[in-house]
Amino acid sequence: MINFTVPLFLTLKLSFVTMVFLFIIGIPFAYWLAFSGFRWKFFVESVVALPLVLPPTVLGFYLLMTIGGNSFIGQWYEGVFHKPLAFSFQGLVLGSFLYSLPFAVQPFQTSFAGVDRKFLEASWSLGRSRFYTFFHVILPLSRHGIITGCVLSFAHTLGEFGVVLMIGGNIPGITKVASVAIYDEVQSLNYGIANIYAAILLAFSFLILAGVYFINRRFIRTI
């Protein structure tokens, strides 16, 4: 029974931690993307969107090159923390963060940019700073985009496979998430166990998405 819960729990933990990082870093980043007049912004936007079109193995490969034991970052990390970054949970979080970045940042950015400018101007003309306006006007009026971004990034990490396999391998309890466990079980012809993992992931993903659509509909109705 332990074998079941460990990969599932690890998957949930990875998804949650990734979502939290994406929320903390993604929101200011999306604000910058939505309101900055930086002329090379399209370049940054393209980089953010890359995981949408790139095979996960490509992202995983370059990430492995970047954080692997022979790389500068990998060696620096190992020097500081005395353990490798690749094939660790932290490495997985980094990979998932990049892999799910567009799923969080794009909904955040779209909803920030969609807030009618007149509300921002009303706030400024009432003497409130951009910082105050962000927390009291932009964030509340973007809440459905923020919920969508958080949940999509959570759900997307839940279903991650290629990147995880490339930079995490399948170390039980550390990097062997549910999607990798399914692959493993099928390789070992344990279709029954694979089916249980798959069914749980399917049901979970469906429930999450249904929840997002339900909540968003309610928010849209009340505003």
Binding site: E121, L126, V137
Partner: protein, 291 residues
Amino acid sequence: MNVCLKKTWDKFKLDVTFQIPPGKITALFGPSGAGKSSILRLISGLEVADGGMIHKGEEVWYDESKAINLLPQQRSVGFVFQDFALFPHLTVERNVVYGIKEKARLGEVKNLLLLAGLSGYEHYYPAQLSGGQKQRVALIRALARKPEILLLDEPLSALDWETRRQLQEDLKRIIKQFQVTTVYVTHDVTEVYKLADYVVVLESGRVIKQGTPEEIFMGKRLSTRIQLVGKVVGIESDPIMAAVTVIHEGQYFKTLIDTEEILRLHLVVGDDVVIGAKSSDVILFKVLTRS
């Protein structure tokens, strides 16, 4: 307050110089596209001019030559937007307190709501209010932070005729109570007459006249004049001339004007109008009392 602003957009050039008398209501009057709303945006700092200055007494809000340009947050303005721009996610009360920074002043909100006839609506959301109520919320929200200057961008244009007429009175009453310097953008001559103490007439981005409503609309300063606000109660017209009957405090006045003018003004029964006459046109009779 002295204002001198220059700004060029793609197809429009603004070049205006005028004054805003303190404590009075100044109307920026002119047709659509004259640059009225742009001037408010420039005064409030929501847009930046290419040149000129905005001096408020000793204070400098904007001066191109000295490279001074205060942020909207640094200028003590209250801005009432054309479509009100009430925060849809905040209740009436939260909207009104939004600009109040001093905690001690939060208690004043009750009085403000009372003043605007909005007591009992504290916990309503903007979507639950009528157009007239939204307008009043927007007005007291702008006034709540005690601005040095109140800017109103066609505040009544989004409302129907009946509401507009009633709100003109409310607006004047509330603004006068605050004794705040006000700039009021409108293209409605009746509003100018009802509300303004001073008028700046604009056309194609230029000031063509400024003065009191009487000076502007009567051609010169007059010591005696007739100037009454009334309501049209009847229009009888043929293709050339029309007889318009106006009621003012129970008195009927009938006057002839070109039918073309009626069509141009879209004048209909129920409209508020101003009846004006130069003193030279006024005849006096002594009323003889029976001895």
